[in-house]
C-alpha cells in the first residue's frame, strides 16, 4: 500500500539539481514544456535531448531508477507511436498488408510525437525526484504570490497542499488498517470480478471518509486554537533564497534555449 509510483517520489540527495532553488527548477520545467513543442527537426530534438540527459546526469540518480519511475507512462508513449503509425497517411508507403498500409510520414510523425512526450515526462519527473513536495509547495506559493492581487487564494491553496502532503502517510496507514479490519470480516479485495471488487471498496471508503472528516474537524479546531486566521498578517518560517548556482543555471539555460532557436527550422 505504501509504495506509490516514483512520479511524485522524492529521492533525497545533494546533487547540483537537488541544491537548486525549487523556483528555478519550476520555471525551467514550465518553460521547457512549452519549448519542446517548437522542436521541428532532428537537430533541435537532439539538442533538447542532450539538455535533458545533461540534467539527468546532474541529478546523480541512477538512470535505471528514473526510467523505471516513468514505466507507467511508457504504455502511453508506445500507444501514441502506434496510433500515429496507423492513422497518418502521408509520404511513401513502406509496408502494405492487405488494405492496411504503413506510411513513412506516419513513422516520422509518430516517432517525433512520442519522443517529445518522453522528453516532457523525463524532465518533469526530474523535478519531483529531486525536490521535496513541500519545497514545490513553497515555490508555487512564492511564484504565484502576485496573483493574490487578483483575489486568488494562493496562501490557502498552498496550505491545503501542505496539509494534504502531511496527511498522506496518516491516511495510507488508516486505509491499510481498515482494509485489514474489513478483510478479517470477510470482505475480499483481491479476487472476483471487476464489479465485485469495486463493490468491495465501498466498506473501505466509507469509514475512511468518516474518519477523514473527523480529522479535518479536529484539525480546524486545533488551528483556530493556535491563532490561525487566514493569510493576512502572517510571517513565514520557510524561506527561499536564490543562490549563485541559480543564477548560473538561469544563464546556461537561456544560452541553451537561444541555441535551440537557431537550430530549429
Amino acid at each position: 500500500m505504501k509504495s506509490y509510483m516514483i512520479i511524485g517520489q522524492y529521492v533525497p540527495g545533494h546533487s547540483f539539481i537537488h541544491r537548486l532553488d525549487p523556483r528555478t527548477k519550476l520555471m525551467i520545467i514550465f518553460t521547457f514544456v512549452f519549448i519542446v513543442f517548437f522542436a521541428n527537426n532532428l537537430v533541435s530534438y537532439s539538442w533538447l535531448t542532450l539538455f535533458a540527459f545533461a540534467a539527468v546526469l546532474l541529478t546523480q540518480l541512477r538512470l535505471g531508477y528514473i526510467i523505471k519511475g516513468i514505466t507507467p507512462v511508457w504504455f502511453l508513449i508506445v500507444f501514441t507511436l502506434l496510433l500515429h503509425i496507423i492513422v497518418t497517411k502521408e509520404g511513401p508507403i513502406l509496408l502494405e498488408i492487405g488494405s492496411f498500409a504503413i506510411h513513412q510520414g506516419g513513422i516520422e510523425r509518430g516517432l517525433m510525437i512520442s519522443w517529445r512526450f518522453m522528453l516532457l515526462v523525463l524532465v518533469t519527473s526530474l523535478l519531483t525526484l529531486t525536490t521535496a513536495p513541500m519545497e514545490i509547495t513553497d515555490a508555487l506559493e512564492m511564484l504565484l504570490g502576485p496573483f493574490k492581487k487578483l483575489r486568488i487564494p494562493v496562501h490557502e491553496l498552498a496550505l491545503m497542499m501542505s496539509i494534504s502532503l502531511r496527511f498522506i502517510p496518516t491516511l495510507l496507514d488508516e486505509t491499510e488498517k481498515i482494509s485489514k479490519a474489513q478483510a478479517s470480516r470477510g470482505v475480499d479485495f483481491r479476487t472476483g470480478s471487476m464489479k465485485s471488487r469495486i463493490y468491495a471498496i465501498v466498506p473501505l471508503l466509507v469509514p475512511l471518509f468518516i474518519s477523514a472528516f473527523k480529522r479535518a474537524e479536529d484539525l480546524a479546531m486545533a488551528m483556530e486554537a493556535r491563532g490561525y486566521r487566514g493569510s493576512e498578517g502572517r510571517t513565514k518560517l520557510r524561506q527561499l533564497q536564490f543562490k549563485r548556482i541559480d543564477y548560473i543555471t538561469a544563464i546556461v539555460y537561456l544560452a541553451v534555449m537561444i541555441m535551440f532557436l537557431f537550430l530549429r527550422q
Binding site: M134, S162, I163, L165, R166, P169, T170, D173, K214, R215, D218, L219, M221, A222, M223, E224, A225, R226, G227, Y228, R229, G233, R234, T235, K236, L237, R238, Q239
Partner: protein, 277 residues
C-alpha cells in the same frame, strides 16, 4: 491574580438540547496546577473550549487574566491560553516538527529570527530538540504530543490547558507527557490545567476539581481526594488499584495518611508502616 474565571456561565450546544453548563462558577488562581476529572460527557472539554474562546457562552462571563473574553479580543486571549488536544495526529499541522512549532508563531506574525529562537527554546523545554526536522509519521504518539506542547509553549502563554492529552497514548507516552508537564511547571511559573479521566495523572496537581453532569462535584486537594472514594465511585470514576488496596487494608487496621496513587508509593508506605509497628 486569577488565571481563569467562569462567572455564572450557561452553555449549551443547541437551543433544543439541555444545558451542558448551568450557572457554572470556577476560579483558577495564577500558577496553580489543577486537574479536572470527570466521566465522559461531564462537560470537561466544553469548559476548555469556552476558556479558549473556541465556544462562546450563552450567558455569563469568562475571564482570562482578569480580562473578559469577547468576540473582539478572543485572538489576544488565545495567546494567553494554549491548548493541547486529545488526538496527537489531528493537531499536527506542519510537515515537520519545526514547521509545526512555527505554525502558531507565523499566525502571530512573529519575526523570523525570533521564530527560530523560540522554536529551539520550546523544543528544548519538551526535550524534542533532536527531532527538529522529523516528519510526524516518524514520531510516536507521546513525541507528537510533546511537539504539540512545544507549539503551545512557543507562544509564551500564561496558561497551559491539556484536554485529555494522554488519553490516546500508551503507558510510556503517558509517562513522557506527565514528566514534560512536571518539568515545565518547575522551569516556568505557568498555570497548568490538566483535563483527564485518568486518576493516576492527578499526582502532579495541587488541586483537583471533579465534574459531574456539568457541575463541580468536588473541589479539593490531591491528597484529600480519595477520602470521599465512595462518592467518586458513585459518579462512575474508577479508583486506581493501589488506592483500592489501601482502602481495603485500612479496614484491617493499617492506616494511611494519604492514599498512594502508584504501586511504588503503596509499597513504600507499607514497609514503612510495618517499621512503625
Amino acid at each position: 491574580m486569577v488565571a481563569i474565571e467562569f462567572r455564572d456561565v450557561y452553555f449549551r450546544y443547541n437551543e433544543d438540547t439541555p444545558w451542558v453548563l448551568k450557572n457554572f462558577n470556577l476560579k483558577i488562581e495564577s500558577k496553580e496546577t489543577v486537574a479536572i476529572l470527570g466521566h465522559n460527557g461531564s462537560g470537561k472539554s466544553t469548559i476548555a473550549k469556552l476558556a479558549n474562546g473556541l465556544l462562546m457562552p450563552q450567558a455569563g462571563e469568562i475571564f482570562i487574566d482578569d480580562r473578559k473574553i469577547t468576540p473582539t479580543n478572543v485572538w489576544e486571549i488565545r495567546q494567553k491560553i494554549g491548548m493541547v488536544f486529545q488526538n496527537p495526529e489531528n493537531q499536527f499541522v506542519g510537515t515537520t516538527v519545526r514547521d509545526d512549532v512555527a505554525f502558531g508563531l507565523e499566525n502571530r506574525a512573529i519575526a523570523r529570527e525570533e521564530m527560530l529562537r523560540r522554536i529551539q527554546e520550546s523544543l528544548q523545554q519538551v526535550g524534542m530538540e533532536a527531532y527538529e526536522n522529523h516528519e510526524p509519521h516518524h514520531l510516536s504518539g507521546g513525541q507528537k504530543q510533546r511537539v504539540a506542547i512545544a507549539s503551545v509553549m512557543a507562544i509564551h502563554p500564561q496558561v497551559l490547558l491539556l484536554d485529555e492529552a494522554t488519553a490516546m497514548l500508551d503507558p510510556r507516552g503517558k509517562k513522557e507527557i506527565l514528566a514534560t508537564v512536571l518539568s515545565l511547571k518547575e522551569q516556568l511559573a505557568i498555570t497548568t490545567v490538566m483535563i483527564t479521566h485518568d486518576l493516576q495523572e492527578i499526582s502532579i496537581a495541587d488541586r483537583v476539581i471533579v465534574m459531574n453532569k456539568g457541575a463541580i462535584f468536588k473541589d479539593t486537594t490531591t491528597d484529600k481526594l480519595f477520602n470521599s472514594h465512595q462518592e467518586l465511585q458513585s459518579i462512575g470514576l474508577t479508583i486506581p488499584l493501589s488506592v483500592q488496596l489501601a482502602i481495603e487494608l485500612e479496614q484491617y487496621g493499617y492506616p494511611f495518611s494519604t492514599y498512594p496513587l502508584k504501586q511504588e508509593e503503596l509499597i513504600e508506605t507499607l514497609w514503612k508502616s510495618h517499621l512503625k509497628m
